[in-house]
C-alpha cells in the first residue's frame, strides 16, 4: 500500500506486576492498595502491539502510529519516559482510571471516541492494534468493543504474525489450540488486531527516539481531558490469587533430566 497505514494502538498502563497488588475498597469503589504510588508499566500485550505497529509502519512508507492510552496522566508521564524511547509514535491521552476495575464497555467507548477525534485519521487505512488480553484484569473484550464502536468488523484476536502481501492484502496468524495458528487473509484495512506476543523483541531504550517523541507526548499529556468512567458491576469482594512459589535450586542438573521432570509434572 503506497499511502501506508494509520495504526492506532490502544494500550493502557498497569501496575508493575512485581509489586504487591492488594485490592482495597475506597470511596470511588474498588482499586489497588497504594495504586497511585505503585510503579506502572505499559500493559505487556499492548507493548507487543506497539512494537509490531512501529515495525509495520517502518516498512510501509507513509504510515503513522498513534498510541491511545487511558490512565492517570501523571502516571502516564512516568511510563512514557520508557515507552517513548522504544519506537516513534504520537500519544493520545485519556486521563482516567487504570486499575482494572472499570468495565470493558465503558473503556472501549471512551477509546473509540478518542480515536474518532484524532485529527487527520483516515479510517480507510486504519488498523486498530491492541493486546488481546490485559495484565490488569484480562477481560479480553475492550478491543473488540472499540472495533464495534468504530464500525470495524474485521477483527482478529491472539495474533502473532501480520504480513503485508503483494497487492496490499494482509495475512494474519491467530493462535488456536495446541500451538497451531488460524491463517486469514484480508484485502486490507480497516481491521482490529488483538496481539498475543507477536514476534518482535522489545526494542532497547533509545533516548534519541524518546527526545523526538516527547515533543508531542508532553503537549498531549497537558491537554488530556479527564474521562469519567461510570457503570459496571458491584463487587462484593475482590481477592488476588495468592502467590505460590515452589522453587528448588539444584545446580549442574543435565538438560534431559530437567526436561523429563517438567514433562512428568505436566502429565501428573
Amino acid at each position: 500500500m503506497s499511502a501506508g497505514y494509520h495504526i492506532v494502538v490502544c494500550g493502557g498502563i498497569v501496575p508493575d506486576p512485581l509489586q504487591t497488588l492488594e485490592p482495597v475498597k475506597g470511596p470511588a469503589g474498588w482499586g489497588l492498595k497504594n495504586e497511585l504510588m505503585l510503579p506502572a508499566i505499559l500493559d505487556p500485550w499492548a507493548g507487543h502491539a506497539l512494537f509490531e505497529a512501529a515495525n509495520l509502519a517502518k516498512n510501509a512508507p507513509g504510515s503513522k502510529v498513534w498510541l491511545v492510552s487511558m490512565g492517570p496522566k501523571a502516571k502516564l508521564q512516568q511510563v512514557m519516559m520508557t515507552i517513548a524511547q522504544k519506537v516513534p509514535f504520537e500519544l493520545v491521552v485519556l486521563d482516567g482510571p487504570a486499575g482494572g476495575f472499570v468495565e470493558a464497555q465503558a473503556v472501549g467507548t471512551a477509546l473509540a471516541e478518542a480515536i474518532e477525534a484524532i485529527p487527520g485519521l483516515d479510517k480507510s487505512r486504519l488498523l486498530v492494534f491492541g493486546g488481546w488480553m490485559s495484565a490488569s484484569r484480562g477481560a479480553g473484550a475492550t478491543l473488540q468493543i472499540v472495533g464495534e464502536k468504530l464500525g470495524i468488523f474485521e477483527q482478529f484476536q491472539g495474533v502473532d504474525k501480520l504480513e503485508v502481501q503483494s497487492g496490499g492484502a494482509l495475512r494474519l496468524l491467530e493462535r488456536v489450540e495446541g500451538g497451531s495458528y488460524q491463517e486469514s487473509t484480508l484485502d486490507g484495512p480497516p481491521a482490529v488486531v488483538g496481539w498475543a506476543t507477536g514476534e518482535l523483541p522489545e526494542p532497547p531504550n533509545n533516548p534519541q527516539v524518546g527526545m523526538q517523541n516527547m515533543r508531542l507526548v508532553m503537549p498531549a499529556l497537558q491537554k488530556a481531558k479527564p474521562v469519567k468512567v461510570e457503570g459496571g458491576p458491584e463487587y462484593l469482594s475482590v481477592q488476588v490469587p495468592s502467590q505460590k512459589r515452589e522453587t528448588r535450586v539444584v545446580k549442574d542438573t543435565p538438560v534431559d533430566e530437567i526436561a523429563k521432570e517438567i514433562v512428568d509434572w505436566l502429565k501428573a
Binding site: Q19, T20, M81, T82
Partner: protein, 685 residues
C-alpha cells in the same frame, strides 16, 4: 500516624534530586535502569564476574550501551548526542542506576567518557568534535565503526596511582622538518587502564623528555599509529570485573596536533597549552562524582532485598499468613530495622551530597568556560596566574554571598545583580563550593559507604553471603573498596579538602549556612537542621582554633604537612556536608511534593520518613564531627582554659541539638516494618 507506604518511586526521586522537569534526563535514567536490570544483572548472575579477562560475554555490554543511547550521552547534539549543555547530573544518574546492579558495568560505561574527558575539558574544538563524533554509534546511513577510548594516567610501580604529578611516560620529538608539523614519539607504560581491551585510542599523560618540548602534557594515541599499541596484560583484579582493565604499553609516533589542547612553538620549543596536571585537575573534578554515587547506589539498592530477607527468611516452619511472625519475620525485633534505617539514612545522605555536587558542576561548567575566555583575553594563562587573578574577586564573591543571604526587600538588589553579572564572581562562588563538595562526596560516599556495606551483609543472616542472598550484595561490598581508591585514593581527597576548606569564600558560605540552619532548626526541627547547624559551628570554631593554637613544642597545629590535624578535619567536614545536603533534599520534597499528584498521595508519610532519616543521619554526623573536633582541641594540648570552656559550650550544644534523634530512628525502624515492597526483585539473582 501516616508512615511510608511504598518504597520511594521515580516521582519522589525526581523531586529530591531536582530533575523533575528534565525529561531528557528522566529518559536516560530509564534507559540505564532497563539495561542494568536485564543484561548487566544476567551477566552477573551467569558468573561473568568470575574472571578478570574481558570476554565476549562481557563485550555484550558495549553493544547494549550503544543501542540504549548511553554511549552518546556524553556528547553534544552536534556531535551525535542528545542532551545540550552540561551533563554531569545525567552521567551521575546513569552511574547510579548501573551501579544499583553492578558498579563494574557502570565503570565500563563511563570508561570512554573518561578517555574523552581530557579532550572535552581542554581539547581544541577540532579535537573535541573529531573524537566525540567518532565515539558516537553510527547513525542510519553512516558507514563507519564506532571508536572507544581509554584514559592512561597511572603507571607501573613505584608510581602507581598515588603520585599523579610524577610521570614515567615520556614524550620526545621524533621528526621535525622545517615548515612541517612535528612528529612526536610517545613512550608510555600504563597500569590499571580501564577499557583497554577495546580501546581504539588512549589519552596518555606524559612528561617531556626533550628540550624541544617544554612541559608535560596529555597526548592522544591511536591503535593505527606507527609503532607499538600493545594492550598489555590483563589486571588480576577481585572487583569491578565487568569492566576491562589492562596494563598497556605504547611506543608510537603521533603528530603534534594530538597534544590535548594544542601547543604553540616558541623559540623552537613546543609549548603545550596545558600541562597534564592542569588537565587532570579539570577532569577529575567532575568524574569523581559518579564514582562517589556508585557506592551510594549500593547502599540504597540493599534496602529492599534486606527487608524481603528479614520478612521471609525468619518466619519459622509453623508461621501462618496473617500472623506477625509470618508477615514480619525478624522485623519483629527492633535491632534489624534500626540498623537498616541507619544504612538507608547514610545512603540518602550520600545521594543528596553526590547529586548536589553533580548539579553544581552543571552550573560551574559554563561559568568556567566564561572564566577561561576572559582570562585568555586578558592574557592570564597558567594555573598560578589564574589563581592569583581569582583571589582579587574573592572579596566580591564573599560580598555577593552575604547580600544574597539577607532577607528579600532589605538587601541591595542592584548590587547583587551587578555582582552576579560578573562571570568571575560567579565562578569564584561556585568553584569554592565545588572544591569542597567534589572531594567530600568522593571521600565520604565511598569510604563510609564501604563501611556501611559491611553492615548490610551482616544484616543478611549468619553466613550472609549465601546463594539465595539477593542482589549481589557481596560483590557490591567488595566493589566499594575499589571505588574508595578509583580516581584518587582517600588520601588524595583529604589532601584536596585540607587545602580548599580554608578558602575564605567557602568559609563565608559556611557562616551563612550556620545562620540559615539555625533558623531552620526553629521552623523544621524534625529534619535535624539544628544538629547540622551546631556541627558546622563547632567545626568552624575548631578550624579557627587550629589556626591559632600550637602544640607543646610551639609548632602550629593547622599545617600542610600535619595530616593528623588536617585529614580528620576533612573527614568531619564530609559528614556535615552530607547531612546538610540531605536536609536540603527533604525540604525540596516538602515544597514540591504537593504539586505532584502521585507524590502528594501519601506525602505525609513519605516526608515524615525522610525527615526521620535526615534526623538520624544528622545526629550521627554531629557525633562524628564532635569526636574529631574534641580530638583536635584536647589531643594536642594542653590548651588555654578559656579556649576549652568555649569549645565545651559548643560541644554541649551539639549534644543537645540531637534531641529526638533516637525517637526518629524508632519511627524510621517502625516504618520499615510497614512499607510495601515488591513481590520479587526485578532482576535475576
Amino acid at each position: 500516624m501516616e508512615t511510608l507506604r511504598t518504597l520511594p518511586g521515580d516521582d519522589v526521586r525526581q523531586i529530591m534530586w531536582r530533575f523533575a522537569d528534565r525529561y531528557d534526563i528522566q529518559m536516560t535514567v530509564q534507559s540505564a535502569r532497563s539495561l542494568a536490570r536485564t543484561l548487566v544483572a544476567r551477566l552477573v548472575a551467569e558468573g561473568a564476574r568470575h574472571t578478570h579477562e574481558w570476554t565476549d560475554h562481557k563485550a555484550q555490554l558495549l553493544d547494549a550501551f550503544d543501542s540504549s543511547g548511553l554511549t552518546a550521552l556524553f556528547m553534544d547534539p552536534h556531535q551525535g548526542g542528545f542532551i545540550e549543555g552540561p551533563k554531569n547530573l545525567a552521567l551521575a544518574l546513569v552511574a547510579f542506576e548501573l551501579a544499583w546492579v553492578d558498579a563494574g558495568a557502570a565503570t565500563c560505561s563511563l570508561a570512554t567518557n573518561l578517555a574523552l574527558a581530557p579532550i572535552h575539558e581542554r581539547g581544541t574544538p577540532d579535537q573535541r568534535d573529531s573524537y566525540m563524533s567518532r565515539c558516537v554509534p553510527p547513525q542510519p546511513g553512516e558507514d563507519r565503526t564506532i571508536i572507544r577510548g581509554a584514559f592512561a594516567l597511572t603507571e607501573p610501580l613505584p608510581y602507581v596511582g598515588v603520585e599523579t604529578n610524577t610521570l614515567v611516560g615520556k614524550l620526545r620529538v621524533a621528526e621535525w622538518e622545517e615548515g612541517k608539523e612535528p612528529i612526536l614519539q610517545v613512550d608510555k607504560r600504563g597500569r590499571f587502564i580501564t577499557g583497554m581491551d577495546f580501546a581504539n585510542f588512549a589519552t596518555c599523560a606524559v612528561d617531556t623528555d626533550d628540550p624541544r618540548i617544554k612541559t608535560s602534557c596529555i597526548v592522544i594515541v591511536e591503535d593505527t599509529d606507527e609503532g607499538l599499541f600493545d594492550r598489555g596484560a590483563p589486571t588480576l583484579k577481585m572487583v569491578h570485573q565487568l569492566s576491562s582493565t589492562r596494563d598497556p604499553v605504547f611506543n608510537l609516533k603521533v603528530p603534534a596536533s594530538r597534544i590535548v589542547g594544542g601547543y604553540t612553538v616558541k623559540d623552537g620549543v613546543i609549548v603545550p597549552n596545558y600541562t597534564h596536571s592542569e588537565i587532570i585537575g579539570a577532569v577529575f573534578h567532575r568524574t569523581r562524582v559518579p564514582v562517589a554515587l556508585m557506592s551510594t547506589a549500593k547502599l540504597l539498592s540493599a534496602v529492599e532485598p534486606v527487608i524481603r530477607y528479614h520478612r521471609q527468611r525468619f518466619r519459622g516452619g509453623d508461621a501462618q499468613p496473617g500472623t506477625p511472625k509470618f508477615d514480619l519475620g525478624i522485623q519483629q525485633k527492633q535491632d534489624a530495622v534500626l540498623r537498616l534505617a541507619e544504612v538507608w539514612a547514610m545512603g540518602e545522605a550520600g545521594a543528596s551530597l553526590g547529586f548536589e555536587t553533580a548539579r553544581l558542576f552543571d552550573q560551574l561548567d559554563p561559568s568556567e568556560k566564561e572564566k577561561d575566555r576572559i582570562f585568555s583575553e586578558q592574557g592570564i594563562m597558567g594555573p598560578k596566574s589564574q589563581l592569583s587573578a581569582l583571589r582579587k574577586v574573592e572579596k566580591q564573591a564573599i560580598e555577593l554571598l552575604g547580600l544574597e543571604a539577607q532577607p528579600e526587600g532589605q538587601r541591595d538588589e542592584a548590587r547583587i545583580e551587578a555582582l552576579k553579572a560578573d562571570p568571575l564572581v560567579r565562578y569564584a562562588t561556585l568553584e569554592a563550593l565545588a572544591n569542597i563538595l567534589c572531594p567530600a562526596c568522593k571521600l565520604w560516599n565511598t569510604g563510609q559507604g564501604a563501611n556501611m556495606m559491611r553492615e548490610v551483609l551482616a544484616l543478611m543472616g549468619g553466613y550472609g553471603i549465601t546463594e539465595d542472598c539477593p542482589g549481589f550484595l557481596f560483590y557490591k561490598w567488595t566493589d566499594c573498596q575499589l571505588e574508595a581508591t578509583y580516581e584518587g585514593p582517600e588520601a588524595v581527597q583529604r589532601r584536596h579538602l585540607s587545602i580548599t576548606m580554608t578558602n575564605e569564600v567557602f568559609l563565608a558560605r559556611l557562616r551563612i549556612w550556620i545562620e540559615e540552619f539555625n533558623i531552620l532548626a526553629a521552623t523544621r526541627p524534625e529534619t535535624g537542621a539544628g544538629a547540622v547547624a551546631a556541627s558546622m559551628e563547632l567545626w568552624l570554631w575548631t578550624l579557627e582554633f587550629l589556626h591559632r593554637a600550637k602544640d607543646p613544642s610551639g609548632a602550629r597545629l593547622y599545617h600542610n604537612r600535619r595530616q593528623n590535624v588536617t585529614f580528620p578535619m576533612a573527614d568531619a567536614l564530609c559528614w556535615v556536608m552530607a547531612s546538610r545536603a540531605q536536609v536540603g533534599d527533604v525540604l525540596e520534597l516538602a515544597e514540591k511534593g504537593p504539586e505532584n499528584p502521585i507524590v502528594a498521595e501519601g506525602l505525609e508519610g513519605t516526608l515524615g520518613f525522610f525527615a526521620d532519616l535526615s534526623m538520624v543521619q544528622a545526629a550521627r554526623a554531629a557525633g562524628e564531627c564532635a569526636r574529631v573536633c574534641a580530638q583536635m582541641v584536647y589531643g594536642f594540648g594542653p590548651q588555654d582554659e578559656a579556649e576549652l570552656a568555649a569549645f565545651e559550650a559548643l560541644r554541649a550544644g551539639i549534644d543537645r541539638a540531637t534531641a529526638g534523634a533516637a525517637l526518629a530512628k524508632d519511627r524510621a525502624g517502625q516504618a520499615l516494618t510497614q512499607v510495601m515492597i515488591p513481590e520479587a526483585l526485578d532482576y535475576p539473582q
